[in-house]
């Protein structure tokens, strides 16, 4: 996401300055809010993501509460403990993410890179464990409504982890190619916010699906 | 702006809608009030016909809805497949038929006559032809109708039509909703979704031979288990299954004989 008001990623670069364009660009927009446009954009996007999860939780609510179906369906078993470990993994990745961002803020490249890499690694581990859980869980998506919404919610969340990882990969690539500075690190901060959201969402999903 | 005006035009609509909502609520409670001596009718929607069952009348089934005048009725509405909506415009009441739940409406018919029963929820290709009739009759006439239906369930409807098997078959064909999809000259049916049944006798002989079935067996299977054999050029899964729940064995026999009797190509048998 880009913005005219804050041409965000004008990292140091040797490209020639387009003199002939200098006077033809748009006037700088007036900043009428203290909030950064990209930060606000991500916030709104997260609101709409929460609503998407809301739609899936509505389905869950109808199946489990309104219809009063057994949870999990008779004979099925949810690996609460394994998923609990997985939760811990994902939550710890939020801390490494924060560490990376602090690195960027303080101009500590090493912390930035290592932080991003660990976050990536932890996220990928989470996904791998999740997929392994699918393989061994012993019921298929098409068995009944309970299995459908189980896969629906965890799968939707998994897709978000995947998107988050993709964004983080971009940030990591850029970090290794020398972008980001204490002044300009929106490219770390924004994926970071998204990543924290994915984490928090998992805690909600984990609690509703596995714990209660 | 003008504050006084604004207060006025917030308050007045507010009062109007409050009164309207209150009145609506009262009428709603009235519509849904339970009454004694209620006749229960189980309504089942199916692509693309309604069927009616009277559990307290010995489980009599019918494709025509018949109600005694002035007796409260409670409809319990179900569906065999997708959503339908049971609506009698002249009764001013409707309710969806929803898979998995039973919905209800209550009313007391108080005028004799025939009125249309309409399906008001889009249910597929034949939705617009899912129209039948309700007859409101005197209580005595209702009782004798019930008795006749009980006999018809045994003899396939022949008795009801004065022994006229063809008329009985035509009635079943039309009332079950076959006309939505099939062409059959004898029943004025012009549907084009399924095969033209005017040539049924010929194709039943041909396809029956392929499957080692008599034409009768073939047609019976085609009705009760449509996907057991799919007529070339048509799609499987279009013709609804479940007619065996809706029609009695005798009725299906009547229907099979009727279809073979009125279609072309019977001579080849």
């Amino acid at each position: 996401m880009e913005s005219t008001s804050a041409p965000a990623h004008t990292a140091p670069v040797g490209a020639p300055v387009h003199d002939e364009h200098a006077h033809h660009g748009p006037p700088a927009a007036h900043q009428s809010s203290r909030m950064d446009p990209q930060f606000l954009g991500m916030l709104l996007f997260i609101i709409s993501e929460i609503m998407l999860f809301g739609a899936f939780f509505t389905a869950y609510f109808f199946i489990r509460v309104v219809n009063g179906e057994a949870w999990p369906a008779e004979g099925d078993h949810l690996p609460v403990a394994v998923a609990g470990v997985n939760t811990a993994i994902l939550v710890s990745s939020s801390f490494t993410m924060h560490w990376a961002l602090e690195g960027a803020r303080r101009g500590n490249r090493r912390a930035l890179r290592i932080g991003l890499l660990t976050t990536l690694l932890l996220g990928a581990t989470f996904l791998a464990i999740q997929i392994n859980e699918y393989v061994n869980i012993g019921f298929a998506v098409s068995e009944n409504a309970q299995t459908s919404i189980f896969y629906g919610l965890t799968g939707l969340h998994g897709a978000h982890v995947f998107v988050g990882l993709t964004l983080l990969t971009f940030a990591t690539t850029r970090a290794f190619r020398g972008h980001f500075s204490p002044e300009k690190h929106m490219g770390v901060e924004i994926p970071g916010i998204y990543w924290h959201f994915v984490d928090v969402m998992w805690i909600v999903v984990y609690t509703t699906i596995y714990v209660i | 702006g003008n504050t006084k005006l604004e207060i006025i035009w917030v308050t007045i609509p507010f009062i109007i809608v409050s009164v309207l909502a209150g009145y609506g609520w009262i009428v709603l409670d009235d519509i849904e009030a339970k009454k004694p001596d209620t006749l229960v009718v189980d309504v089942t929607g199916q692509q693309f016909a309604w069927s009616f069952e009277y559990p307290d009348q010995g489980g009599v089934r019918s494709n025509e809805l018949v109600l005694p005048k002035d007796r409260p009725v409670r409809f319990r509405i179900n569906t065999a497949d997708v959503l339908h909506d049971f609506w009698v415009p002249d009764f001013r009441l409707k309710s969806d038929a929803v898979p998995g739940i039973t919905t209800e409406i209550r009313l007391t018919p108080n005028r004799l006559g025939s009125y249309p029963v309409v399906c008001a929820e889009l249910c597929g290709i034949g939705h617009s032809t899912m129209r039948q009739t309700v007859r409101v009759v005197q209580p005595a006439a209702f009782e004798s109708w019930v008795a006749r239906r009980q006999r018809a369930a045994e003899d396939g409807g022949a008795g009801e039509n004065g022994g006229d098997e063809t008329a009985a078959g035509r009635q079943i064909f039309t009332a079950t909703g076959c006309e939505a999809c099939h062409t059959l000259a004898d029943a004025d049916a012009t549907g084009t979704v399924g095969p033209d049944l005017d040539d049924l006798a010929a194709s039943a002989a041909r396809f029956g031979r392929q499957q080692d079935q008599s034409p009768q067996e073939y047609v019976r299977t085609a009705i009760v288990e449509p996907d057991a054999f799919v007529v070339p050029g048509f799609q499987a899964g279009l013709m609804p299954g479940g007619y065996s729940d809706q029609l009695s064995d005798a009725e299906i026999d009547t229907l099979v004989e009727y279809l073979l009797g009125v279609s072309e190509g019977g001579a080849e048998q």
């Binding site: 880009e2 913005s3 008001s5 990623h9 004008t10 660009g25 748009p26 006037p27 927009a29 007036h30 009428s32 809010s33 446009p37 606000l40 954009g41 709104l44 609503m51 998407l52 739609a55 899936f56 509505t58 109808f62 199946i63 369906a73 998506v141 009944n144 409504a145 919404i149 629906g152 850029r174 290794f176 | 604004e6 035009w9 609509p13 809608v17 409050s18 309207l20 009145y23 609506g24 009428v27 709603l28 519509i31 497949d81 959503l83 002249d90 409707k94 969806d96 929803v98 898979p99 919905t103 249309p116 008001a120 889009l122 249910c123 597929g124 290709i125 617009s128 939505a180 012009t190 799609q235």
Partner: protein
């Protein structure tokens, strides 16, 4: 350019190349997965179609060039300085390429959406032709069901919702004194998602088994059982929805962070307020329709059991999720129109908007109430009985803020110097027709009434009174009003007036009688009907053809005026808001310097009132003693 360079550069060549590539990819992916699972046959065309429906549009968008910048950014290439090469239109060709200028995108939106309006309208003509008489005339029932489903889908998702986004794209940044939208590239992406969704909807007619035929509501479980065409709807809506969310997010950020100095929220034109509140609705509600269609898609493609009652699924859940979006969606389709009408009425009646703050508050109230009424579409659906009365009450309460708007417009008109220009005529037509549609809505909210008329032509009448007499009339008003600004030329006022009067008359003759056939017992969504409704339906059909033809006048007027119309002044309506203070059409970057806002936007007839000061000092101040402008004949406003 060499052939390879042409294929590598963003544009139509690359797009045309990427689509078959995406198809091949889909075949390969399906074959690979099915081979891994050991399923037979390895290539299942239904599965390929589903995957292609997702990959081919994406490939097109990538090919046309919406992602190029982001790809380079993602792999960490050195950032290019912005050269604005993809900004502004150089010739008509620029409109067929990815462009990040909000004015170009606005025009792209408007023209594209009107294209789909014509398609959807022609489908309506076929619907009416079929319904001229009972029995089967032109189309079989399956095609008929497809026709009204695609008709409604195009009208809602490809016309009303995006055309408002298009008009707002053009005028909102100008109105708040911003050089562009906050995220110009996202803006371009939002636009290009749209034609792909539209093409998908129309292409469903060519699918095996015909177009999706379950109405625009796609109720389960019918929609999980019908042939392949349904998939086009299920996936197409995701694209249209993504486009909608992205634009809304863009508007919110633009309006919050890019207002000119001095432009407080209470100095924003109501058009901006309307866009702001609509965008809130979109961002919060639209994910729900995405969810509902995900469930359908999963049930169809992966065999999940969300809607199989015998396996614990819940059919009514679909309707709750769907309407939790689609009720707010009807306000998404109306609030921007409210904004347009406020601009038009105040400008063409030369009076400040009556009760400006209440106008803004009522928009917010509608947004909030709008989320509490979804189940009024489910009064006969067999849902929880206890939910009905609360929903009836909240639904009716919406009449209060909506009434505030209607009365405030009347208050604005009251003793104004009314100029009966074409936009004003459409605004006045809107007020009357929308009030009728709103009142039929209130009738639909009374449960004992709706138990009878739900799913009948009474509802069809309501739909078209609020959507055509409401939304489309405001769109016409807006297009005529801003036509000089957008094209730099004037439209033909005489033709405009003829267009209005023909539309107004035939609109009522077409949709008015539908109330009566509905109450008499004609259900909606039927290809065939009982003989008792024949006369009225014949009248409706004939009027609808004339109604359709009246649109040709509009089309002719727009096309010829755009090409040969007389040059328009910067400010032909002598309006105060900022978009009228720049040239027509506006300069490529809107302003040399961001203007400064010093007063309210509607101070018409207030001596010396100024809304904004531009860099070159141009600012339309009301002439000290307000003269009675010609045409209206009314005395100058004495209010204040």
């Amino acid at each position: 350019m060499t052939a390879t360079a042409k294929l590598a550069a963003p544009g139509w060549y690359r797009a045309a190349l990427s689509i078959p590539l995406a198809f091949a990819f889909s075949v390969a992916l399906v074959a690979l997965l099915r081979a891994l699972y050991g399923w037979d046959p390895v290539v299942n065309w239904d599965a390929v179609t589903t995957v292609s429906l997702i990959t081919m549009p994406l490939a097109f968008i990538v090919g046309i060039g919406c992602f190029d910048y982001w790809f380079e950014w993602a792999i960490g290439k050195p950032t290019k300085p912005e050269d604005h090469s993809s900004h502004g239109a150089k010739s008509w060709r620029s409109y067929f390429h990815v462009n990040t200028d909000h004015k170009v995108i606005g025009i792209q939106y408007i023209v594209t959406t009107f294209f789909f309006f014509v398609l959807g309208g022609l489908m309506a003509m076929l619907i009416r032709a079929e319904l001229t008489q009972p029995g089967t005339q032109f189309v079989d029932p399956n095609t008929y069901n497809g026709l009204f489903s695609v008709h409604a889908t195009l009208m809602i998702f490809l016309f009303i919702i995006p055309v408002f986004a298009g008009i707002a794209n053009y005028v909102v940044p100008l109105m708040i004194g911003a050089p562009d939208m906050a995220f110009p590239r996202l803006n371009a992406l939002s636009f290009w998602l749209l034609p792909t969704a539209g093409v998908m909807m129309v292409a469903s007619f060519f699918a095996d088994g015909g177009a999706f035929a379950t109405g625009w509501t796609a109720y389960a479980p019918l929609s999980t059982e019908t042939p392949m065409g349904q998939q086009f709807f299920t996936v197409g809506v995701q694209f249209a929805g993504a486009s909608s969310i992205a634009t809304a997010l863009n508007f919110l950020v633009t309006i919050i962070t890019m207002r000119a100095p001095g432009m407080t929220f209470w100095r924003m034109p109501l058009m901006v307020w309307a866009q702001f509140t609509t965008s809130l609705l979109v961002v919060i509600a639209t994910p729900f329709i995405a969810g509902s269609q995900f469930f359908i898609l999963l049930d169809r493609a992966l065999g999940t059991q969300f809607f199989t009652a015998t396996a614990g699924g819940d059919v009514l859940m679909y309707q709750h999720v769907f309407w939790f979006y689609s009720h707010p969606a009807v306000y998404i389709m109306m609030l921007p129109g409210f904004g347009i009408v406020s601009e038009v009425i105040s400008t063409h009646a030369r009076k400040p908007v009556f009760g400006y703050r209440m106008m803004a508050f009522s928009l917010v109230a509608i947004v909030i109430l709008g989320f509490t009424v979804w189940a009024h579409h489910m009064f006969v659906s067999g849902m929880f009985g206890w939910l009905r009365v609360p929903m009836m009450i909240t639904t009716m309460l919406i009449a209060v803020p909506t009434g505030v708007k209607i009365f405030s417009w009347l208050g604005t008109l009251w003793r104004g110097a009314i100029h009966l220009t074409t936009p004003m005529l459409f605004a006045l037509g809107f007020i009357t027709m929308f009030t009728l549609g709103g009142i039929s809505g209130i009738m639909l909210a009374v449960i004992p009434v709706v138990i009878h008329v739900s799913d009948t032509y009474f509802v069809v009448a309501h739909i078209h009174y609020v959507l055509f007499g409401g939304s489309v009339f405001t769109i016409f008003a807006g297009i005529y009003h801003w036509f000089p600004k957008m094209t730099g030329r004037m439209y033909d006022e005489g033709l405009g007036k003829i267009h209005f009067w023909l539309s107004f008359v035939f609109f009522n003759l077409t949709f008015g009688p539908m109330h009566f056939v509905g109450v008499d017992g004609m259900p909606r969504r039927v290809a065939d009907y009982a003989d008792q409704f024949a006369t009225l339906n014949a009248i409706i059909s004939v009027s609808s053809f004339l109604f359709g033809l009246s649109f040709l006048i509009f089309l002719y007027n727009m096309v010829t005026s755009w090409r040969h119309g007389p040059k328009a002044d910067a400010n032909p309506w002598r309006a105060h808001s900022i978009e009228w203070q720049v040239s027509s059409p506006p300069p490529i970057f809107n302003f040399d310097e961001v203007p400064t806002v010093v007063g309210g936007p509607y101070e018409y007839g207030v001596p010396g009132a100024v809304h904004a000061v531009l860099a070159d000092g141009k600012a339309p101040a009301e002439p000290a003693p307000a003269p009675a402008p010609a045409g209206g004949g009314a005395p100058p406003p004495s209010d204040r």
